[in-house]
Amino acid sequence: MEWITLSIDGRTVTVPKGTTVLEACRMNNIPIPTLCHDPELSNYGSCRMCIVEIEGMRNLPPSCVTQATQGMVVRTQTSKVRNARTTILELLVANHPLDCMTCQKMGDCALAEYAYEYRVTGEVFKGQRRELPLDDSNPFILRDPNKCILCGKCVRACEEIQGRSVLDFSFRGFNAQVGPAFNLPYSESECVFCGSCVSVCPVGALTEKKMVGQGRPWEVEKVQTTCPFCGTGCNFDLNVKDGKVIGVTSNPEAPVNGKALCVKGRFGMDLIHNSERLTTPLIKKDGEFVEATWDEAMDLVAQKLGEVKQEHGADAIAVLSSARCTNEENFLMQKLARAVIGTNNIDHCART
């Protein structure tokens, strides 16, 4: 690999050839604010937050799309750079609702984070703000175009991760928007609700509808786990608050799927708390189920299986394990059949 050396804020750093200035900064723990950049997506260069000063270049080049070159001299925190970033943030905040106290994204909002860092209040440019209708047309995703900062991450996620290109920009200038073709609501578009757009949105423009009002980011514990549906084996984070799963968020570390998920994995986990869940053992008496204690139920099962084994032999018992359960449970189940009951009558619905 070819290496190059450049100077960033007076530090000499060495990075592989082909590295962008932004990557070079991040590799060396030099913070650069970004709103439209995502390592899983193509470089877009639209938010202009990552601008830096580079000797010999005119204007303020965006570091995310500028290749680092040998001997380059980069400055990331000059007053010119910081003033420009402040102005860009002022522009974004001037056209962004300031209802942060009720916004689902509060605590996890990139715009709020940078506004805080750069002390931006939205007071500098007071003028027209968008007043666009919410898209509340479907059970999964809530879209507030007024909060959109047009970073285009959702557009790229839809095209590059999901291969669907449901989302794109429309209109021009101040009226520019992101949404499905012809400004249709999500429900009438070709959207399959994989939610990749939600997973990349840096602000509160796209949120998981079912999670609205359920918990703040700092109250939520995230537990990485494996999806219980198809055989792909996607990983995601269960969001837990007060002993309740309130929803699912992508985990970029997921080995198979990265940030991508499908509609079932991302939005189907409310089944965990479905009111029809069985919560107590049941024993059928006179054709009706009656609630029982675990001891009653387990004693009955052990006794009945024991009787059948006694009277008809172990092979009169059959055990159906489950492709929905864990490896450990399947192992124990076949061990139960073979070692405890004494039969090879063990199978599962392998074929559906």
Binding site: R48, I51, N59, A84, L91, G127
Partner: protein, 648 residues
């Protein structure tokens, strides 16, 4: 009837399928493959039919978009009718042409070979013109052009200052050929540049020749064309494309339209030469759909070139293939930016992309692509026909050749003018443009469209070339010159251009999308008299951020009109803010209407017309406006026959 394009005899075997390398030269100097005096005589006779001379006089009627909208087609019809009626059909020929450039005076017609120019022609004038010119051998004096500066009628078009001061290289054919006939183009040495390139030069030699000519991109940025071509030639790719950017979008710019309408084959020939030099076999002309006539003429020209084997496979038996297609743009200004243009050709939303990769590496459909604008392409045939040295004799040291400008605004001669690089603004505006309308005072010229700057009168002696103008905070741009007089408010003009840039912003990058909006809002406030002292600093600072951080040229240059206006006309901004006064009396919120009692004839018309009913007076008392109720609509000033209503 036989035309120049028909084979002279059976010995000629040229077809698109069996091409002959000498085809183009054969038409004008041939036959070449055999020596038959009869064939040669026949060819010369057909050539003569195309070129005007005493036995074959021609009336070139401008039917470009401007003149056509003033009824030029009626004039063509009337002329044909009258000529038939007079039995002159054998000696006089009516040729509908592209733009003569003299739009202010349209419809115009030029009679050759006598070089007579008639302006502001109406169908009613036709009979008299035919009678005088072709029967009596005299002039229709009243239709001759009178120069407003000298008050002398121009005896020939070359005598009119408007034409005399021009150097027409690219526009050489415009107005003097029928753009719907390829033979007209060939008769005036068309496709000889291509023939030279294919027969005598390697692609690298072609690029070297273009480099030597000093030609720079005419789209605005002025990048050296030969160098640009060499990047694309050196790029690795199994397929390469070339593009002609005909998405001319600056308000008040119509140079490219004029060229495409009037001389489409020049663009095709330029692209053919470029494709050969670069190694491309496919090209696109991206033309805005608002130019239907340009598209029509281009379509016809492509079809004709294909029919004679000048487009297609194995062109002139050189083994070189080139196919050309047209894509109509949907009216987005930003599609003039080349990455957005490429996205649009691909069927995507026209949004600029970050560079690198540059189109020369990865352009249309990910292949190496070279894009030049119409005027640049149209320059190329001249370089290859006459050589780089001859081309480079025009212009300055670093800006070679000529440039077409579109003169608009408060100038007398609205139209297209081609001048050598380095001419001063004063020469262009006052000599060619004929000065300011109605004897008013020159105030500023906006050069380079919404991306350019406003230059005041002290800059009038600037030489127009890429580097000088950039230094002055403006740019050559595509070549729009909007002339403003003392009745133009510079704040209002800045607001106008900001409105344009804002509504044409693609919305991709933050500074352009949001910044131009806030700049517009500040300017709007100032024109309404609501501006505050600190607004100018905010405006200027914001303008600099937008300029320095925007993604593409649209955003990077959008603040130029504001910055240049602030630089040269800051006092006007300050007058709006401090004195709540618009010095040019344009900004309605800052105007007061007053009736001069001395001039008032007490007719009462103003009071009758006033929609607010706020004018009082009677036959004895001069009328008076109640300023608190006045809605500043200006009706009173319009209806007053005595100029008694004053705008202050």
């Amino acid at each position: 009837m036989k035309t120049l394009l028909d084979p002279c005899c059976d010995r000629c075997t040229h077809t698109p399928e069996t091409p002959c390398r000498d085809y183009v030269r054969c038409l004008t100097e041939g036959p070449i493959c055999h020596d038959d005096p009869a064939c040669k005589a026949e060819k010369q006779r057909l050539l003569k039919e195309i070129k005007p001379n005493e036995e074959n006089q021609q009336i070139f009627v401008c039917t470009g978009t401007g003149c056509a909208s003033c009824g030029a087609h009626n004039i063509v019809d009337s002329l044909n009718e009258e000529i038939n009626h007079q039995g002159l059909a054998n000696t006089v020929n009516v040729v509908p042409t592209g733009c003569h450039g003299f739009c202010e005076q349209g419809p115009t017609l030029i009679i050759e070979p006598r070089q007579i120019l008639y302006t502001l022609v109406k169908p009613d004038d036709v009979a008299e013109i035919v009678q005088k010119e072709f029967v009596e051998g005299e002039r229709v004096e009243r239709l001759l052009y009178v120069d407003p500066l000298t008050n002398q009628p121009a005896t020939t078009f070359a005598n009119a200052n408007f034409f005399a001061k021009q150097t027409r290289v690219v526009l050489n054919n415009c107005g003097f050929i029928n753009p719907e006939k390829i033979e007209d183009y060939i008769a005036r040495d068309g496709y000889k540049g291509l023939t030279n390139a294919l027969q005598k030069m390697t692609p690298v030699e072609v690029i070297d020749e273009v480099k030597k000519s000093g030609l720079r991109g005419r789209g605005g940025a002025g990048f050296p064309t030969g160098l640009k071509w060499s990047f694309c030639r050196q790029a690795i790719g199994d397929k390469k494309y070339i593009i002609c950017n005909a998405d001319e979008g600056d308000p008040g710019a119509f140079m490219d339209r004029g060229v495409l309408e009037g001389d489409p084959h020049a663009v095709i020939e330029g692209m053919l030469i470029g494709a050969y030099a670069i190694g491309a076999d496919e090209g696109y002309v991206y033309c805005r759909a608002e130019y239907p006539l340009a598209i029509k003429h281009l379509e016809i020209a492509i079809r004709q070139a294909e029919e004679v084997g000048l487009l297609g496979d194995n062109i002139l038996n050189s083994g070189f293939n080139f196919h050309l297609f047209i894509r109509a743009g949907a009216g987005a200004f930003v599609c003039g930016e080349e990455t957005a243009l490429i996205a649009s050709i691909e069927g995507k939303r026209g949004m600029p992309k970050v560079r690198p990769p540059f189109p020369a590496q990865s352009g249309l459909w990910g292949k190496p692509t070279n894009n030049n604008n119409v005027e640049t392409w149209a320059n190329v045939p001249h370089i290859l026909r006459n050589g780089a040295d001859r081309y480079a004799q025009f212009g300055t040291e670093k800006s070679k050749g000529t440039k077409i400008f579109a003169l608009t605004g408060k100038v007398n001669n609205t139209g297209l003018a081609e001048v050598p690089m380095g001419m001063t603004l004063r020469d262009i505006i006052f000599d060619i443009g004929g000065g300011i309308q109605n004897g008013k005072k020159f105030k500023a010229v906006q050069i380079g469209g919404p991306s350019g700057g406003c230059l005041p009168d002290e800059m009038l002696d600037l030489q127009v070339d890429y580097d000088t103008l950039t230094k002055a905070g403006a740019m050559v741009g595509s070549g729009g010159l909007v002339v403003m007089d003392e009745t133009t408010c510079m704040v209002d003009i800045a607001r106008f251009f900001l409105n344009f840039s804002q509504s044409e912003s693609c919305g991709k990058c933050t500074p352009c999308r949001e910044g131009t909006k806030r700049m517009w809002e500040i300017l709007d406030k100032i024109t309404k008299g609501e501006g505050r002292e600190e607004d100018l600093d905010t405006l200027e600072q914001l303008a600099r951020v937008v300029k320095e951080t925007s993604l593409c040229g649209l955003g990077q240059n959008a603040p130029n009109p504001v910055l240049s206006a602030l630089k040269y006309f800051r006092h006007e901004f300050e007058a709006h803010i401090r004195d709540k006064n618009c010095p040019a009396h344009v900004c309605s919120a800052l105007l007061t209407y007053r009736i001069d009692p001395d001039k008032c004839k007490k007719c009462g018309l103003c009071a009758k017309s006033c929609p607010a009913g706020c004018i009082t007076g009677d036959k004895k008392t001069p009328y008076e406006i109640d300023a608190t109720a006045c809605i500043k609509c200006g009706t009173c000033a319009k209806v007053c026959k005595f100029g008694a209503v004053l705008r202050e």
